[in-house]
Subunit: 399 residues, 2 copies
């Protein structure tokens, strides 16, 4: 049995790459950019007025002219005008092109306009209220780097430079496999010895947050059915997430089946709770990565976040760390196992804080609903209220 640190290291050392694809801009949210994006023009593309008011020639004001004849109006979206005369001005709207020969904009609040004549009431500075062409970004400059995770503001930049399609990193094709004769479908009323399948729904929903549409598969506890199903999954998916079937029980064939199918077992069983039976390996022929989570809901949920998500981040070239959180209560880990403890997290002031969530064990699904993450507590450690501990969030804590 290996330690948590060893297991985590092995998982991260075995990241994979899933190539790239081109997707329409409006399907790119949450994806990872696989190309550098240069500005296709200067931003702003012209000397742009940042106020509503009048555009004048600064040297005219400097020479003593303070009243200007309005020669016309420059609106955002109309071609550039030309200031015809030093004693003329152009009324100008926010976002409009500053006219040729003009080099200062005076806002309405500092003007008096009457009968087509604008009088400037306050001192003027050269270039005031003008956002210079290329002031933000020059044409050809990289505005978005390969590896950027695409958020709403990234979408805005991509739209600005005219990207209707974007090159992004492909996401892995994932099968979520449940096993066990005790599981029945959602719409069925379980017999006393049965329960409804739930882990595969939880995992599929968690993957949906990562923009991955997983395929749910179920195999009953029949060696040949499992073997055939898993083999097929290796050919069709980049990743297989299993829940159940990897502990020491008589009907937990999976590790044996994996061996027969030519899977490299990278580890099985970790000194941690929940999730001691955790299984991890790679199918040699297809390159498919296999995470075998234990069947208990709490165990699958914790280990998905603790192992799979950092692995996925690494595969996509994203950074990953466990933040710290302040434990508000005492907690003693009397075991020689690494423990993952359910907490309800919140922000107090600017600090992440965590209260313990009462749970009757890793089979307790309902307490997971009040859980917003897991603390990682080292073997044989005693913690006092106020201690900072590594934390893995499972729900959104900030708005």
């Amino acid at each position: 049995m290996i330690t948590f640190e060893e297991a985590h290291k092995i998982v991260l050392e075995n990241s994979a790459s899933f190539r790239e694809e081109r997707v329409p801009l409006n399907e790119s949210l949450g994806r990872v950019l696989a190309e550098d994006i240069p500005a296709d023009r200067d931003f702003p593309p012209y000397d742009r007025s940042t106020r509503d008011g009048i555009a004048i020639r600064f040297s005219a004001w400097e020479a003593g002219i303070s009243s200007f004849t309005v020669q016309g109006t420059a609106a955002a979206g109309t071609p550039q005008m030309t200031l015809q005369n030093d004693s003329f001005c152009v009324e100008i709207m926010t976002g409009a092109m500053v006219p040729i020969n003009a080099d200062a904009v005076v806002m309405y609040e500092q003007l008096n306009i009457e009968d087509g004549q604008a009088t400037v009431l306050q001192p003027v500075h050269l270039g005031q209220n003008i956002h210079k062409k290329g002031g933000d970004t020059e044409k050809g400059e990289i505005v978005l780097k390969k590896g950027t995770k695409i958020g709403p503001s990234t979408i805005g930049v991509l739209a600005s430079v005219g990207k209707t399609k974007v090159q992004v990193k492909k996401l892995p094709k994932i099968a979520v496999v449940s096993t066990g004769n005790e599981l029945v479908a959602l719409h069925e009323m379980p017999e006393p010895h049965q329960i409804r399948t739930s882990n595969s729904y939880t995992l599929a929903a968690a993957l949906e947050k990562e923009k991955i549409a997983a395929t749910r598969l179920h195999f009953s506890d029949n060696r040949e059915e499992i073997k055939a199903g898993i083999e097929k999954a290796f050919h069709n998916f980049d990743v297989v997430l299993l829940s159940g079937g990897v502990s020491k029980g008589k009907y937990d064939f999976l590790p044996e089946v994996f061996e027969e199918l030519g899977v490299d077992q990278l580890f099985h069983r970790v000194k941690q709770r929940p999730g001691k039976p955790l299984w991890f390996g790679k199918h040699k022929a297809s390159g498919t990565t296999i995470f075998g989570f234990p069947g208990n809901p709490g165990s699958t949920f914790a280990n998905y976040h603790i192992y799979f998500l950092p692995w996925l981040s690494k595969c996509l070239g994203l950074k990953w760390t466990f933040p710290k959180i302040r434990l508000t209560e005492a907690f003693q880990n009397t075991t020689d196992f690494m423990r993952f403890i359910r907490v309800s997290a919140y922000v107090e002031g600017n600090e992440l804080c965590a209260n313990l969530v009462k749970s009757s064990g890793s089979g307790d699904l309902t307490s997971l609903v009040t859980t917003s993450g897991f603390l990682i507590i080292a073997p044989e450690k005693e913690h006092s209220p106020g201690d900072l501990l590594p934390f893995i969030p499972t729900e959104k804590i900030l708005p």
Copy 2:
């Protein structure tokens, strides 16, 4: 011109309700539950073994028996067996029903099994390794409350109680409207005086994060076109988000058009930067809520997060607060306006910290990409490094 606090209060006082709907379980992630969910049976539904090992009768061990004849195997998913005799045991797998007459499970690690005879090597306690029927939740107990935001673990609970469809709060139908003749479509190469439309893409992507599929509309700067388009939008949408058209420029007809269409203006212009021209109102006849954001990308993006998201949370019955964040640099607000400052946020230890993002002004779209939120800085306040300030995140900061 009203203050930020007044404006924010008016927005939150004018929340709306969008009724409820029934959606399939696998489309319910991120939605808000509109029904209490009772357990449809006890959880666990039977006395459940939490280990692989043997099930025995505790009183037999207490009476001195330590070697038991294996009478058979109880697997997860098979009906309940009966222990036939005090000197017998049943091999039992994790998740299986504890047999009738058995009341303790001894795990393999504490056993020696040879020739169908299991010898117990360590002391046994009554009820050990058994998760009692109803131990987590009793039948009829509410496991999920109305108003819960549905995350992956909620999905797992809903699956466990057999909910194939779920009653959730409806999301508003939203139109994102851009205005302005300077805007051209993404696939077009803009003339020097034009720019590509980007705000409506940014807003649609931000709404996608809230599970809302917004409709993007564009109107050019033509009074009649705008009026007809907006009127139609009032009939088809619960919310209209506009970007541009609400400042003081000659072509910013919107406030006038709104009045003609029977819209209650709740405020226009706020002592804040960016977003002074912010407009908010409600269409009397249809009940449609209108947010008029200024046209600059940074201004629209900030005010969407500062006003619209808290409003949406309120409408859906979710809690909302601005967390605090530690500013790492000095910042002085020399204006008498509330200011929203772009920052790049990160977690250090368990603390949210913020570095300032350099920006050339609210028209600077590219600096938004490195922005993960906005600080809210009160008028005429001078802040030192280390000060805690209210913060509105725009990107995910925790993993």
